[in-house]
Symmetry: C2
DNA sequence: GTGGGTGCAAATAATTTGCACGGTA
DNA sequence: TACCGTGCAAATTATTTGCACCCAC
């Protein structure tokens, strides 16, 4: 039951929180901005406020339920945290965001950083791509 | 002579443009935000306006004189375009930005993307690191 | 001299915050 | 019932734009 995740995060189970979490679960592997959620949830004649969405997204991110991404200088987008690390490809024609994971790439980064005398804490990699016709 | 770059970009050679370009040339390999430049150039008792800096940075970026980066959701930063592609490491403790280039990493990305049926147009890679003590 | 360039202030855009009211535990 | 959560509007932050004056060519 989805309310449990919210409770586990130390948050009260309220309608806006349920609606936001449900929306992500109904659209697995997809990414949404605060405004996307605002528009979509309002469509289902619900009186949610944009400020609430921003607040809840931050809380869910802190709780580890969602992951936040900021590509370019576009709107921040969120996705369900599946626990599996991955990076993103953005199709420059369609704007579509695709996830990928490549072990070799991950290991190479760790090795590279270490050769400079650092340890890798985190990384942010976005590949901008175009379909080959 | 530095005014030439500005002229080549189809822009008039004005004091603010010279000051901004000179500032980057005096600090090679460093990255600055619009606000950094504003503060620094004003210190040398010059009456530059912040809006002018934003405008000039955009013009210089379009002209290929500068490269713009947007890490995290922090201020946009600019650096001189040396013509050589590189990526960035950010030291999470000091905030210092270091450039690096790794052929293997570059090639791996091209190969990876191609295996998904795409061609690589551009990429954005930032490694967040910590010094090993 | 003319059209582009500048500084200032006001406008935007994304996000955050203050506040009075409402709902969860 | 106590307090957290909500919606709305106002505040913030980074950046852009309108406008009257100024200067490079």
């Amino acid at each position: 039951m989805k309310g449990q995740d919210i409770k586990d995060a130390g948050l009260k189970v309220t309608l806006p929180r349920l609606q936001i979490l449900e929306f992500f679960e109904k659209n697995p592997g997809k990414h949404f901005s605060a405004d996307d959620l605002f528009t979509q949830i309002r469509k289902s004649n619900n009186e949610i406020g944009l400020a609430t969405i921003y607040r809840v997204l931050n809380q869910f991110e802190s709780a580890g339920l969602l992951v936040k991404h900021q590509f370019d200088n576009a709107l921040a987008i969120y996705e369900l945290d599946t626990g599996e690390h991955h990076d993103h490809m953005v199709d420059v024609d369609s704007g579509e965001v695709k996830e990928f994971y490549n072990q070799e790439l991950e290991e190479l980064q760790v090795k590279l950083v270490r050769s400079y005398g650092y340890e890798l804490i985190d990384h942010n990699m976005v590949l901008y791509v175009k379909k080959i016709k």
